[in-house]
């Protein structure tokens, strides 16, 4: 060991010499990467579980599936308004129970066959069928006549949808819903080619064949998903020739890759680097609304969370402002309700509580756990190693000060989703991002009791809320509809199956190589609109 003391400087030099001698050998033979220049590469945090439009239910898969499949309608990139896609036009009867869609001619799947009304009938029936195991189909297609029976396995036919001819699709609803069309931009309502789905040689989830602006050409699991521009696309062609989604689970690695010039954009950035990246002149920083809410969720059927007072104790201990500003370094902003500010019809400041540990102490005492004594051991689960992990630690620390001891356990995002859907956790952190820019897509899937076992992860059931949400869906007038939704939101907050913490913003970084970075109001990178410099 004497060598460490006596000759240290010489050894540093020798070590450096050694490194210098080795480095050229390592780099030898490695040329510059020469790929076609009109390629946009971005970092995603996890491998999609499936690219079958009926099964996509998390942001990574949805962002890809949106560009592989075009449904009847789409959403405007900036305003989120419903715009025609495969349907050129549509009309409904006066009480909004029957819709007729007129399909564009000459829209083709990438296998060459034409998209016809029958493909929608097939796709919707298939998505709802229990065997397809779709967690979103019911939330989106529930208004269609017969959807509930089909989802429950009582029939195998979706009665409310019918192909009047090849280019006319008639949809009958269970109840009036003026806003029905706005649900249909979700990939789950997109057409799928029957013969490809039933092709036993390829699993459709891995080899999706669609009609969108891009075609899936390669999917190497946990490595990359390659999309190529669809040459036969009916709409406006994408500017880029190829989009590559690189699967890089660690956001810090992804940012390093961006700086090294190996990816053009990073969709999730580490909270701890937000400030630094905002001020970094070598990369471009983007922050925009994401229509997402981050919340603490309870399983309201499991003790101690079946006790309203316990849930309230947690809620009064939630320091949203600290979490938004300090922990997440301004990546998100404090929530003032369940529905984010960016959603039309948002009502401000409906939160029945704020950060006040004294109220927590009071609620704990009322619940029979004075000072937290007598509470069973609890574990707070969170997904991934990003913002949720940081938020979880902050929450844990605040709860501890009030005498509430919780363990925190992180899980990979996929595993987390799996556990959440199977009801394996009773206290967890999660973000919900809207499928469509409407209040409905926050309240209905999460809190309507028929979604228990799927998206109602709280096992929450309140008949009054169900009724209000039903009324809202069928109200013909926008203001009336918003009124019902707002009332439902207040009722839900009073029951407190979850504690909203922050509203999300999409914080992304991209390279100056991206000449026109287009982010949709739904939180996707608009692969069909983005342009990159070809030098």
């Amino acid at each position: 060991m004497g060598i460490f003391r006596k000759r240290s400087t010489k050894f540093v030099w020798l070590a450096m010499l050694f490194a210098v001698a080795v480095a050229p050998v390592i780099i030898m033979g490695c040329g510059e990467e020469t790929s076609s220049s009109n390629v946009f590469t971005y970092a995603e945090s996890s491998d999609p579980a499936s690219l079958d439009p009926a099964q996509v239910d998390e942001v990574v898969a949805i962002n890809i599936a949106r560009y592989l499949f075009d449904g009847l309608v789409g959403y405007d990139t900036e305003t989120s308004e419903v715009v025609p896609a495969v349907a050129e036009s549509w009309e409904s009867n006066s009480d909004a129970t029957e819709f007729t869609f007129h399909l564009r001619k000459g829209v083709r799947f990438s296998n060459g066959s034409e998209v016809k009304a029958g493909d929608f009938v097939y796709a919707w029936s298939r998505a709802l069928a229990p065997d397809t195991m779709s967690s979103t189909a019911y939330a989106i297609l529930q208004p269609v006549m017969g959807a509930t029976d089909l989802a429950d396995g009582k029939t195998d036919k979706l009665t409310g949808v019918e192909a009047a001819d090849d280019y006319t699709l008639k949809v009958t609803l269970e109840f009036p819903m003026a806003d029905f069309v706005s649900l249909l931009g979700h990939p789950v309502a997109a057409p799928v080619p029957k013969d490809e789905v039933e092709n036993a040689q390829f699993r459709f989830a891995e080899h999706p064949v669609g009609n969108g602006p891009f075609i899936l050409t390669e999917w190497k699991h946990d490595d990359q998903v390659v999309l190529e521009k669809n040459p036969d696309y009916y709409g406006q062609d994408a500017s880029i020739d190829q989009a590559v989604a690189r699967i890089i689970p660690n956001p810090a690695t992804a940012v390093a890759e961006l700086k090294a010039g190996n990816v053009d954009a990073v969709r999730t950035i580490p909270a701890g680097q937000t400030e630094a990246l905002r001020n970094d002149t070598s990369v471009k920083f983007f922050q925009g609304p994401a229509n997402a809410v981050r919340f603490l969720a309870f399983d309201v059927t499991k003790p101690p969370f079946d006790n309203q007072k316990v849930r309230e104790a947690f809620a009064w201990d939630m320091d949203s402002i600290k979490i938004a500003d300090k922990v997440l370094q301004g990546q998100e902003y404090p929530a003032d309700g369940i529905v984010p500010t960016s959603i039309p019809g948002h009502q401000a400041d409906v939160m029945p509580y704020s950060f006040d540990p004294e109220q927590t102490a009071k609620r704990l005492e009322e619940a029979g756990f004075p000072g937290g004594a007598g509470l069973p051991p609890m574990t707070l689960y969170y997904p991934g190693v990003g913002p949720a992990a940081d938020t979880a630690q902050a929450i844990q620390s605040d709860l501890k000060k009030s005498g509430i001891q919780v363990e925190i356990t992180g899980m990979d995002e996929g595993a987390f989703r799996d556990q959440m859907l199977s009801g394996g956790m009773s206290l967890f952190l999660i973000s919900w991002q809207a499928d469509a820019p409407s209040i409905d897509s926050f309240l209905f899937p999460l809190f309507e009791s028929s979604n228990i076992g799927a998206t109602d992860v709280f096992q929450y059931a309140n008949p009054e809320v169900d009724e209000l949400l039903g009324k809202a869906r069928s109200a013909p007038d926008v203001n009336q509809r918003t009124g019902f939704y707002n009332e439902a939101e207040r009722k839900i907050l009073a029951d407190m199956p979850m504690v909203p913490i922050t509203f999300g913003q999409d914080a992304m970084v991209y390279s100056p190589r991206v000449t026109n970075f287009v982010h949709t109001s739904l939180g996707d990178i608009a692969l069909d609109k983005i342009t990159v410099s070809q030098t």
Binding site: I27, E218, K220, D222, I247, I248, T253, A256, M411, A415
Partner: protein
Amino acid sequence: MPTTRFIFYRLLQMLLVLFGTVTVLFFVIYLLVPGDAAQAALGNHATPEALENLRRELGLDRPVWVQYGIYLQHLAQFDLGTSQELQRGVGGIILEYLPATIYLTLAALTLETLFGVGWGMLMALRRWPRLEALSSVTSALLLALPVFFLGMLLQYVFASRLGILPISGTGGWNPLNLVLPAITLAAAQTAIIAAVTQSSLSQEMDKPYILAARARGLTRAQAMLKHGLRNVSGPVVTILAIDLGTLLGGAMITEIVFSWPGMGRMVYNAALFRDVPLVIGTVLVLVIIFVVINTIVDILYGWLDPRVRAGEQANG
């Protein structure tokens, strides 16, 4: 012990170990997995009837030894079961992730052979008063550096600072993407190979036949290359071969640090999913690869060197 008996003995031993491994894995699942496979597959909301049906289908209502028999029968037909999360056959998933791991492992083996043997030869050539200390320190450091720390250091230097190498994924099998993970994976083994080469060579170089060769006018370096190296290739090749088996399963942390789409990362994700069939199936396949490679090396080595065959009996 005659050669054929030795080979037979080793193969028998291998089969025993494999059988034991399978048994251990089966009982680990049977005894430790909470709930059962049916519960895991259907989730907590499943109806009792559905659970009952699946249990009957999977044979979970039968006594444990019958289940063990079913398990062995499936294995004999190369059926490793179905992944709970991905709803696909475990065998197919393994085949999908195996190439990336083999690619990385072979690259690491190449690096450690080149640098390890070179380094060892250099050190055995003669006494280098200053270099020996450096070599000693480097060797200990390479062994003590955790792969993830080394990986992070390399990522910082070569991607963040110099911006010359990618640090995640295969980049569509771009050789540049292979460089850093392969170095990270090879680092510790390089030190071992160097040490073994140096130590065996040094001893070999003192043997009479080398001295005779040198008396014929060969320099020490020539004698080492012409005679010495061949005679110490045994131990080095042995280590490399065992490494192949170990690295296939042991590249996990390297694969995670470099977002490399290999077996290690796959089985890690599967563990996080609590996807027991996938984890156990993958572990089983990796252990089989390891044991088989080990046995082949043993047999080859014993075939080449009668002393080992003799020693086998004493060491059981």
